[in-house]
């Protein structure tokens, strides 16, 4: 397997892992089939959207597959990697990220094959489904920093050229279209994403954030993460 089980390297093999590998194997088959369908329908001309139609059963199976890692209500999960909350996410952002994973603009060896197995119609359906979830935040952040994080989020740090996050993400961190919903996002995912923002993305993907993350120091990142992870 090119994809290793995420928990294996942590030295604690978990029951769910084998299941996931089987699914990834299944995905490979599905991917080849999907490519065959694309090629086939392309020669037939203009029938591509029909070829991507799926049943309610297929959608439910795919949602369950996402929930294995992202949590039953899309609330996020602290696995070996912090796995982000999807509940309440903006649909346009959700779809953009899946396309970015699929075409390698956003670098993630697990999400790349996942995203590549999804038809455009399935991506839209999943985005709509996870948008509707509104689970409680997982919590567990560093409460002591949340007040500092709130100040940075709402006011920015103008003398250090840190913009107010609220200008684009909204005062309640609910996002807008292609700008992500951050309220309730899990703390370690926020820290990891802001710390590795540029490293995990090819040039120009979400580059509006590059100067922001470069202006924030470690403590400021942790403070913002603590604040948004506590928001309902």
């Amino acid at each position: 397997m090119a994809l290793s089980c995420p928990s294996a390297s942590a030295g604690t093999p978990r029951q769910g892992c084998g299941r996931r590998i089987i699914k990834v194997g299944g995905l490979r088959l599905a991917l080849q089939l999907a490519i065959a369908i694309v090629v086939f329908s392309a020669t037939a001309g203009g029938a591509a959207t029909k070829a991507f139609a799926f049943s309610r059963h297929e959608l439910e199976a795919k949602i369950a597959y996402c929930q294995d890692c992202h949590g039953p209500s899309g609330q996020g999960f602290r696995g070996y990697y912090p796995i982000p909350r999807l509940g309440g996410q903006q649909t346009e952002y959700f779809e953009n990220q899946l396309r970015a994973f699929a075409d390698g603009q956003r670098l993630n060896s697990i999400m790349r094959p996942v995203a590549r197995s999804l038809s455009p119609a399935m991506i839209t359906a999943l985005a709509t489904d996870f948008r509707a979830f509104n689970p409680r935040p997982l919590g567990g952040d560093r409460r002591g920093l949340a007040a500092m994080g709130e100040k940075i989020f709402q006011d920015g740090v103008p003398e250090e050229n840190v913009p107010a996050c609220a200008a684009c993400h909204g005062p309640a961190a609910t996002g807008f279209e292609q700008i992500p919903h951050l309220a309730g996002q899990i703390y370690p995912y926020m820290v990891k994403t802001l710390t590795n923002f540029r490293k995990d993305r090819k040039e120009h993907l979400s580059d509006v954030m590059y100067p922001v993350v470069e202006s924030l120091n470690k403590q400021q990142i942790e403070a913002v993460a603590a604040y948004v992870s506590s928001l309902r």
């Binding site: 709402q154 006011d155 920015g156 103008p158 003398e159 050229n161 913009p163 107010a164 609220a166 200008a167 684009c168 993400h169 909204g170 005062p171 609910t174 996002g175 807008f176 279209e177 700008i179 509006v208 100067p211 922001v212 202006s215």
Partner: protein
């Protein structure tokens, strides 16, 4: 009633602007700004206002600054800092800028000329052009003069009267709809924004949307300024 007060307010406000302008240039000259400080601050503004200050649709519509008159930029920053224009985010931004930095930023953004962001319903633009160039007769009687009389034939603005050409339509709609809640909040100070308040309040929602659609489509001569 409202319209009569517009006609009175206009000459008064113009007088106030002319008097204010005489004292303003000296403030702009205080405080030297290094090239690296200025570049860092420009990069900071562009995070929200767009790579070429063409405006950006975040959670809020964030206005185009490109091509804006330097006077209107420095006037707005002062209004944010003294909270006569209420905006929490811009209050903090404006409070951190020295007069020299404000003048340097104003000159920089004035020189930019990127394409408008667009996205407004094009069907409304013809009606908006008519309102902008000839004014309207509000239901309560009287007359709102042509917008061109202050903002210019091509909406390029003049000193304290802002450029509106290429501005995001949703930003214009938001400002005109909420004028009295955001502008002129200083209890005693005569403010140029008072000119617009009765006009904004007399315009109907469809008229506001039409004017906004028209303005958002206007582009300056590409030979003026730079796209970057």
């Amino acid at each position: 009633m409202k319209v009569a007060s517009i006609q009175l307010a206009l000459p008064l406000a113009i007088l106030a602007i002319v008097l204010g302008a005489a004292g303003r240039t000296s403030a702009a000259e205080t405080g030297a700004v290094s090239k690296s400080e200025l570049d860092a601050k420009i990069g900071y503004c562009e995070i929200c206002h767009g790579h070429s200050a063409e405006g950006f649709r975040g959670y809020y519509p964030i206005p185009r600054l490109a091509g804006q008159t330097p006077d209107f930029i420095t006037y707005s920053l002062a209004a944010f800092a003294e909270r006569s224009r209420t905006n929490n985010i811009m209050f903090h931004v404006a409070s951190s800028l020295s007069p020299g930095m404000q003048a340097a930023l104003a000159a920089h953004f004035h020189a930019l000329n990127p394409k408008p962001v667009g996205g407004a319903p094009t069907a409304l633009a013809a009606e908006g052009k008519k309102i902008f160039e000839t004014g309207v007769e509000p239901r309560g009687g009287g007359r709102i003069k042509a917008c061109t009389s202050c903002h210019g034939d091509d909406a390029e603005g003049n000193q304290d009267f802002p450029r509106l050409a290429g501005q995001l339509d949703d930003y214009i709609v938001d400002k005109l709809t909420n004028w009295g809640k955001e502008f002129g909040q200083h209890p005693s100070k005569m403010d140029v924004s008072r000119i617009m308040q009765p006009i904004a309040e007399a315009l109907t929602e469809p008229q506001i949307k039409a004017v906004a659609a028209y303005l958002s489509s206007l582009q300056s001569d590409p030979s003026r300024g730079s796209a970057q």
